[in-house]
């Protein structure tokens, strides 16, 4: 995997290149890094012919430091009149926005924009904050303004450098000697920490983030061994030795609530362990938070593989927590794709270890993302239910599915784009689109775009299907047709196709063309057009075209209740 990074800064940042490229290498990324000239960031960004634009980076880091930006104002701030302070505030914020905006407009990249380190001293000392616009407030306001400006921006991300400095101690970050010797504003010692922060942006950029946390039980989720110490004997709850586990679970739950999938991999007697989930008064995590629960005497490696298979995610999406070093080594050796966390000996450090991970970042956060952990947990119940029903038709009927087919709108567009980016298995063409693309299409009259939201008796799967149709007078062509693998084989694809054909009939179109572009992974989608009564009309290696006569019509699956933009189909029929 490769990445091109440009780092532009207002002071000496030698050393970052070496440390960052080593950090990239650790996680299997080859990096090419362009270091901007010393305090050249303005020219490099404003000059369209600079090497920055020639380099075409995937990531641009813009590191402007407070002292360089403020210059002598840093020292004589209170010599300025109120008006001058305001003008200065405007010009600094304007300039920073101008630079970041220009980079993000001219390059197809993400921009990591440092905010300013808030000074720890003011000449006015304890009454700095009594001034109309104090020095410290001045810097904070610039940060606030820039933060506000980029809230909705999908390309520019503010890196809270001030928070970073606070985390490590502002008195430690600046080594005065090095600063005077070489205008170095950050102590070499903290370069690895700074680069690790940059890695937090690189991981989601290259889709290297994790989706699932797999947990051991004894001495990981609670203290002690439930099989020996019993339900009352384990450490979990509001006592000094129980609180580390209690808080660890709360942190895990907060990740679940932001969409991280949870699973259990434990060597234990299932009755003992499950009774903790069911009966312990201080257990935060419950069975219904978990998408897969493997509590048995099998080895942890086969359990781990079974978990990945059951949830249908790659081993490389998993983070594993286990207090037992031996188990960790075993997984590391057998399944190197799994990220194994080096848990500290002392449980009071569990939460610190967990919250210090930068594995779960993403650049956007949709309603679907938030619910993902729950959706996967519901899937486990669905699976259990499937195993108890006799045949598939009976199962599908009993699911009480409701599919909402909704035309592209400002709410579902981000999710539709995300689905085109992420769906690999059930996709006819695997065409990848950005949010901007979908927005553009949806504004055109010759496109029909809609999403499919799937609910059933076990919960809400969220928006899990999408299709993009290119209209022309003679024929409509299915540019994109995809489903998340979670809802594959449940008739949702038929419901979506029925809707397309219904729309085509309304507009008196005769022919619908389905395109299929084979990839390494989209085998599950291969036969859908054939099964649905399409005729093969073009059979190239890289593109197959299927044709359907719209007049034939196409039935919605009987076991699915269809809703359109909030109204049920039944209602529409009754009213028309």
């Amino acid at each position: 995997m490769k990445i091109k990074i440009a780092i532009l800064s207002s002071s000496t940042i030698n050393g970052i290149k070496e440390v960052l490229s080593a950090k990239c290498k650790e996680i299997g990324i080859t990096s090419e890094i362009l270091m901007g000239g010393y305090n050249q960031y303005n020219q490099e960004i404003l000059d369209d012919n600079s090497k920055l634009y020639d380099f075409k980076p995937n990531l641009v880091i813009l590191f402007i430091d407070t002292k360089s930006l403020l210059g002598d104002v840093f020292f004589n701030y209170y010599q300025l009149s109120e008006e001058e302070k305001n003008i200065l505030f405007e010009s600094h914020t304007k300039q920073i926005k101008l630079l970041a905006d220009k980079v993000s407009r001219n390059l197809n990249c993400k921009v990591v924009l440092h905010n300013l380190e808030v000074p720890i001293n003011s000449p006015l000392g304890i009454i700095d904050n009594k001034q109309k616009l104090g020095l410290i407030e001045f810097v904070k306001n610039i940060n606030h303004e820039i933060n506000k400006h980029y809230k909705e921006n999908e390309k520019v991300f503010i890196f809270d450098y001030d928070l970073f400095c606070s985390k490590h101690g502002k008195e430690n970050i600046l080594d005065y000697k090095m600063y005077y010797l070489g205008d170095i504003k950050i102590n070499f010692k903290y370069l690895p920490n700074l680069c690790e922060e940059y890695i937090s942006y690189i991981k989601p950029l290259l889709l290297l983030t994790k989706k699932c946390i797999v947990l051991d039980l004894d001495n990981t989720m609670w203290g002690g061994v439930v099989g020996e110490d019993g339900l009352e004997g384990i450490k979990l709850g509001p006592t000094p030795e129980g609180r580390p586990y209690l808080e660890f679970q709360k942190h895990i739950l907060s990740l679940f609530n932001r969409g991280i999938i949870l699973a259990v991999n434990s060597k234990n007697n299932p009755e003992d362990a499950l009774s903790v989930f069911r009966n312990h008064p201080h257990m935060i995590l419950k069975e219904n938070h978990f998408a897969s629960i493997k509590i048995n005497w099998n080895d942890k490696i086969s359990n781990m593989k079974a978990i990945a298979k059951e949830i249908n995610i790659g081993l490389d999406s998993i983070v594993f927590f286990d207090d037992d070093k031996l188990n960790r080594e075993m997984i590391k050796t057998a399944l190197p794709e799994v990220m194994v966390v080096d848990m500290p000996e002392d449980p009071s450090l569990y939460s610190k270890t967990l919250t210090g991970l930068n594995e779960f970042n993403s650049f956007n956060f949709s309603e679907e993302d938030r619910k993902k952990g729950q959706m996967y947990a519901d899937q486990r119940k669905r699976q259990n239910f499937k195993e108890t029903t006799k045949d598939i038709t009976e199962y599908l009927k009993a699911l009480n599915m409701v599919v909402t087919l909704e035309k592209a709108n400002s709410f579902n567009i981000p999710r539709i784009a995300q689905l085109t980016q992420k769906t690999n298995q059930y996709t006819m063409t695997a065409r990848r689109y950005f949010e901007e693309d979908i927005k553009r299409f949806s504004a055109l009259a010759d496109y029909l775009i809609f999403s499919a939201k799937v609910e059933d008796k076990f919960g809400d799967n969220g928006i899990t299907g999408a299709t993009i149709i290119k209209k022309s007078k003679k024929a409509w062509s299915v540019d994109t047709f995809l489903l998340s693998c979670r809802v594959m084989g449940r008739g949702v694809e038929e419901a979506m196709l029925a809707r397309i054909i219904e729309e085509a009939q309304k507009e008196k179109v005769l022919t619908l063309i389905g395109e299929f572009i084979p990839t390494e992974k989209n085998i599950p989608a291969k036969d859908f057009y054939k099964k649905s009564g399409f005729k093969l009309i073009e059979n190239k290696k890289n593109l197959k075209k299927w044709e359907f006569s719209v007049n034939k019509g196409y039935q919605y699956p009987k076991f699915i209740k269809i809703e359109k933009n909030g109204k049920t189909k039944k209602n529409i029929i009754q009213s028309s």
């Binding site: 000496t12 050393g15 000697k177 090095m178 010797l181 070489g182």
Partner: protein, 76 residues
């Protein structure tokens, strides 16, 4: 001298055996102003000392480094 040579060779990427008291930025291409600072940082960490800015500025060759370290009772 062994420890010092190791640090010099690591930071400046030169052969340990080529290092003498006369080795200086004039004789080593990689000994630029930035690597001087890296060197200071490494020496401080390795020997557990903090140089003053005047001491750092005065260093012109390896011999000078040895002299400064001697001031901190570190005998090379």
């Amino acid at each position: 001298m062994e420890k010092l040579k190791k640090i010099l060779s690591k930071v400046l990427k030169i052969d340990e055996n080529s290092i003498t008291e006369k080795t200086s930025p004039d004789t080593v291409d990689t000994w630029d102003s930035f690597n001087s600072l890296m060197l200071v940082s490494e020496l401080e960490n390795e020997f557990g000392v903090k140089f003053t800015i005047d001491e750092v500025v005065k260093i012109k060759n390896v011999g000078d480094i040895i002299e400064v370290l001697r001031k901190y009772k570190i005998n090379i």
